[in-house]
Amino acid sequence: MNKLLSILLWGAIAVVGAFAFAAFALKRGESVSAVWLVTAALAVYFLAFRFYSRFIAERVLQVDPRRATPAERRNDGMDYVPTNKWVLYGHHFAAIAGAGPLVGPVLAAQMGYLPGTLWILAGVVLAGAVQDMIVLFASVRRDGRSLGEMVKMELGPVPGSVALVGVLAIMIIILAVLSLVVVKALAVSPWGTFTIAATIPIALVMGVYMRFIRPGKVGEASAIGVALLLGSIWLGRSVAESASWGSAFTLAGTEIAWAMIIYGAVASSLPVWLMLAPRDYLSTFLKIGTVVALAIGIYVVAPHLRMPDVTRFVDGTGPVFSGSLFPFLFITIACGAVSGFHSLISSGTTPKMIQSEGHIRMIGYGGMLAESFVAIMAITAACVLDPGVYFVMNSPAAVIGTTVDKAAEVVSSWGFVITPDVITQTAKDIGETTILSRAGGAPTLAVGMAQILAQALGGKSMEAFWYHFAILFEALFILTAVDAGTRVGRFMIQDMLGHVWAPLGDTKLLPANFLGTGLCVAMWGYFLYQGVVDPLGGINTLWQLFGIGNQMLAGIALLLCTVVLMKMKRERYAWVTLVPTAWLLVTTLTAGWQKLFHPSPSIGFLALAHRFSDAAASGKILAPAKTLAEMQRVAFNNYLDAVVCGFFVLLVVAMCVYAILISLRALRATQPTVQETPFVAHAEGVAYA
């Protein structure tokens, strides 16, 4: 009876999914409701979870629910704690979900909603969720060891150290690009800047409350914080409209960049309970709330996708980022499809808290599906916008100019007809003075969200409120990430410096701390500032560099997973990780190669660097530079970007060679050579579902 019910249920989900896909497959060229897109995605998630993740867990990995996990064997009430499945799911999701899935899909929307959506779905099912789940499995079987330690164990000490340097490089780029997203959102926006500034005293109040007034009352403090935040958005409008206060909070991009750099240095040196922890609670609260609200909003409002399914920019001439669909779509959307960073989380605290190997599927695979759903929300919100507005917001000033008339003319000439009045009115609706060239994902997503949420709740007059709410929600967790990331970066730098001179590695020594923090902030601050002043690059350059780095890390994690399968003598099923590994290597190596050596200066770093250094040598000045010194700086920055990109490429090629050699050895072995902790059954009377 149960079996019949199950067949009926899953059959029905498959039929609904097929209908949803048919809805936009059959209506190509016509406008389609966003509800179909979201429904199709949900059907894919449920089916993939029920069938594919179960296949991986039971057949490929042979997870053993009778086996005691590290949390049970080494339970110490502190690091190793058996944790309820759903609580751990929340914990894992809160740790993996950041701003990434909100940015990439919005940028990729320039190619239409279809390429991005299909990649998000195929990527998560076959690559992203597989990586998260198998890394989690491998770590659970190795006492909760980290990715770096596992690479050392299974691949050798040299690849282990090299991988750590790669992680630091990716951290620096991600901190720079996320800060750049905030700069793009807050430049010349007094309302936004005020509300973000207000989160600092709000966090301090919450921190003191949780430390001294009601220790440990996280829920109460979060509720107070959310109320104060909403109050600050409401107050922000008056601040922006006031003559004196408004101009005080109207900052240029470079000023906000400096503010971010100083903030990063100071915030990451404060005790965690004072600012980082309260902000972390707030942003998680907002993150979960906003995603749920947006999903409900889409079903209630049922907006139509106004972006075409595929635009002509698949040929690589798009204004938001340059480069053709293959390979650049696959590195622009990293988080949401497959994110290498998650392999660090799946081998962080989660494996030390899992109660049973039976939960690995839900937490590893299921957690990533939830993040992918956030990415689907983001692409939907970007594609329900008027495409004209989308391109005005996301094209650089060097392409569309700095006036509404010029921008309307250029964007209309691409076939996305828009009038200057519409641009001005859209800015007015959201309570801003301009929407031109606000690339970076956050503002576009915020306009899309504001339009959906305002239709569901509050009407047109609430649009400005919802816009600033969305900006606040994104900026808040980017600032949290900058703070937390700078701390992690400092640890990694001190770790490395410690090998040179031991006192530099001492995390209790203040001067060594300051040096580590200073170096970390200086590195990401450099890339940030370079992005802010570069009218062509910025997001265009940094996001792709981040995408290449992140996918390289995913490639390394999946190579580790493959080696683990080989060493378990499960080579029959090695295709489960080999197929996504191969795809990631092909796309990222192609993208890396093109970013280095493409003859077009809008794609290749070296081509652009040569153009500027050659012109400078003959005394010519090319826009946007105004002096010879600026010309040389543009050339230098592009050489630097080329070095970082080349480093990522070499890193993954080296890992690949190591993985192949070790896999071949494992294939020749007659016995499993995997280094797992020995089997121990659950203690008497312990039974976890």
Binding site: V218, V272, F341
Partner: protein
């Protein structure tokens, strides 16, 4: 007539318990382990040592989550 306040008190107590449980789940999401479970563990396996008090335990958990080496995502 005396039943109504009693019932109200009962409902209030249940609400408090629910809030307490919600707080526990919320703390769990942030990776703050359960203090009672830690105490039980310390009593059972390290009877000679003095366990941290609640404040110290919370401070330790925060420090581990945020100042530690666990990088978090994009």
């Amino acid at each position: 007539m005396r039943e109504a306040p009693d019932r109200l008190r009962g409902a209030f107590a249940r609400l408090c318990a629910l809030g307490e449980r919600g707080g526990e789940v919320w703390r769990g999401v942030f990776g703050i382990p359960d203090y009672e479970a830690y105490l039980a563990h310390m009593r059972a396996t390290h009877p000679g040592e003095t366990p941290m008090d609640r404040g110290e335990f919370l401070a330790w958990a925060l420090e581990r989550r945020h100042a530690g080496r666990g990088p978090r995502c994009c």
